[in-house]
Symmetry: C2
Subunit: 176 residues, 2 copies
DNA sequence: ACCTGAACACCGTTCAAGT
DNA sequence: ACCTGAACACCGTTCAAGT
């Protein structure tokens, strides 16, 4: 049944990558599918609903590793978030622009807090730590993707990791 | 001479606060000024140019304290950035959406790096530290302002400060 | 110097109607 | 179930013309 819905979603992500978020228009998307814009409203009630579905689909694969130290969990979640955003044109703007609590994001958060708690980090400190790492990853990546002046990916990775280790070091020394 | 230009800018910021970034329309702004939209193009060559001017005017007051420890400089810059964003409706989206290197932002950055260097922090480490703190402040505030579910300002301040201290602690322990 | 009027090429969205 | 045609109420921007 609703497989045309999936096709619309796929085409929307394709158009995002090719033309960017500002050019992602219901009318243009429809013409890519050989259809009129009004036909899209059979599948998504609004453009916003389509954008929400895109975010969910891009962010879905983000996860936190099941095992390892809390340092590894934090690193994996932060890098995974950044990877997801960098994987698509305007990914950071799209994802950070509309991420209400968002089911999946909440799950990642609680899983991380549990990982820290399991390693003996007090609950309150764990929540702050996770919040801080995720805010950093979002902030870094938004700025990274907004800047036109592309310095090489390898150097951007190094700078991101250096900041991440700084925060992890801070968490470690805040432990009892 | 160009004082009507300033009036347009002031009205634009007023409209931003009252109606939000999405409702900030050349046509609506013009009607607020008792004028047609086309008249605005005498003062700003495009809507984007107006938005740039708004960012410059909001972010201008942001500064880093002249004296104090490097910890205080970092705290001041991060809190100042957040304050500026929170001071206007959709401030985070507007500012983070278009901040090319931006004269003033570059000055803040270099002033902070110098403050750390003056305190004996090696140049490379100082740049990473400043980048990390600013990325955190941006990331935290964007998320804070995007979330509808308002928890009290005092608690949000506390959470922001806790993350900031975590990072500052990490910087401190990374010192030689 | 500043503004109007009219136009151009677009938007998102709705809704009756078709197959 | 899926799509068309036509419309509605908007956009940003340009440009000749007015004062």
């Amino acid at each position: 049944m609703g497989q045309r819905r999936t096709e619309v979603l796929r085409a929307a992500i394709e158009l995002l990558d090719e033309a960017g978020l500002d050019a992602l228009t219901m009318r243009l998307l429809a013409s890519r599918l050989g259809v009129r814009a009004s036909a899209l409203y059979r599948h998504y009630p609004s453009k916003q609903a389509l954008l929400d579905a895109m975010v969910a689909s891009l962010v879905g694969p983000a996860s936190v590793p099941e095992e390892g130290t809390w340092e590894e969990s934090l690193r994996g979640a932060a890098s995974g978030m950044r990877e997801v955003m960098l994987a698509h044109r305007d990914g950071a703007r799209l994802i950070s622009g509309f991420h209400h609590p968002g089911d999946e994001a909440v799950a990642v958060f609680t899983r991380l807090v549990e990982a820290l708690a399991g390693a003996g980090v007090p609950a309150e400190g764990a929540a702050v730590a996770v919040d801080t790492v995720l805010a950093y990853a979002n902030g870094y990546t938004i700025e990274e993707q907004a800047r036109k002046t592309e310095w090489p990916r390898a150097e951007r990775d190094r700078a991101f990791d250096a900041g991440l280790e700084l925060i992890i070091g801070g968490i470690r020394t805040s432990l009892p």
